[in-house]
Amino acid sequence: MQPAAEVVTGVRSGPPPPVGPPPRRSGTDRREWLLAAALLLPNLALLTLFVYRPLIDNFRLSFTDYNISSPNGATPVGAANYVEWLGREDTRIILRNTLVFTFATVIISMVLGLALALLLDQKLRGRNVVRSLVFAPFVVSGAAIGVAFQFVFDPSFGLIRDLLARVGAQTPDFFQDSGWALFMVTTTYIWKNLGYTFVIYLAALQGRRIDLDEAAEIDGASPWTHFRKVLLPQLRPTTFFLSITVLLNSVQVFDLIYAQTRGGPVGTGTTTLVFQVYQETFVNMRAGYGATVATIMFLILLTITFVQVRVMDRGLGA
């Protein structure tokens, strides 16, 4: 049996290894093929109709001046939207916001999630309660957390202001200062989603091979060596799985930013690519330009995921 770490998270990047011997030509195989088709078709049909069709539609619209409120339809404008995107001043700011938010959330929530999993894997009294508590915010919707955290971050009357005032420190203006607003959104997102990386890492840790732990102990390995040489390699498929799913989720965050800052302050303070797509399409009534940003974003994600698969795949072979 494979280590159970792979049970929950085990993404083997790239093509999965074939289960069992290669297919034979026989009546059984044809029946199996038909069964597979019957099982997959409903899902594939839904994904094609409601994900891939809109994706192609979106690509087509990115070359037009489409406006969702105008009945006249869309006029082709060639690559004008793309040229505009390259030249616009806010492009650089929004790309930077997306980059900062995504990398901070991915790295911090993965490191903290692993640290928490290691801590709560120890035999400590009350760990089950703490495990549930850490997972709790993940269950609440991002919109609700976003609204509720205004009472925590409020620069005049919030919890943080009160705590900082007690130690005599000045509270930064989370609502007006772009940098601090981005800090607020990022921290809230990490606080809310820590439970996800924690639970996946914990499940992987619990499925690890105890005999390797014993071997390391007999060899007199220090805790740090044990972690680096025994635990981390076993967690590698989990780390790969998380790095992809957390990144894709972070890049696509919308509800939290909408509830906390509406993409502000000063216009684009916490606007990320996904938020810009929403803003252009539904607020500025420029769906064509929104589609352009969406297309660029999809291509960026595709590239990053491809690189992740390639880089981590090579490591997995070792």
Binding site: L39, F50, I210, D213, F241
Partner: protein
Amino acid sequence: MSTHLQVSQSDRHRTPLMSVAGYVAMTIVVLIIAVPLFWIVITSFKERQDIYVRPAQYWPSPATTDNYRDTVTSIPFPAYFRNSLIITALLAAAKITLGVLSAYALSLLRFPGRNLIFLVVIAALMVPNQITVISNYALIAQLGWRNTFQGIVIPLAGVAFGTFLMRNQFLSLPHEIIEAARLDGRRPDEAAVAGGHADVLADPRGVLAHHRRQQEERNTSGRSS
């Protein structure tokens, strides 16, 4: 996965000092997670003028349930709640069914093009709702499904994440049992159930359910505004 109850072997050799450090760390974690939650709950029981005061009140005085009464009466709360329940139940049923079926085909059955189809399913994770919402809205409107449950549920029923998760779950089942069953002329699912692994099939649904809820919320918040 009965390993949950197993104690790590290293625990036997833990020093009291490490134990203390563990409890200190755990206390810090509890504070970081629980204090904001406590603050939010406490604020919901305050009167409006008591929310915006200095120094901050750590206990509501006087405590009031007016905010809760207003929530239930100022919006059609029962109707909203009922809608959420219906949409969640329908989507949960559809996604678990489709996810398990797709994952089963992609992990335990053998057919040409299996890896390609798996990649097609996974790539759907990269398409944000903001991209799909306009074109799906147009299609739903054409079908006459505006303001209906099927208009919300059916576009969201395709499963990428769940297929991903369940497939890896299925791949971890002991191959020997499945191969032995094949030789006996049985299907892999019969083998999995006969081998006492039916419970393993269902394990990661908790995570799946949360992810699904997130997606729904992301989608509805994008749509309603």
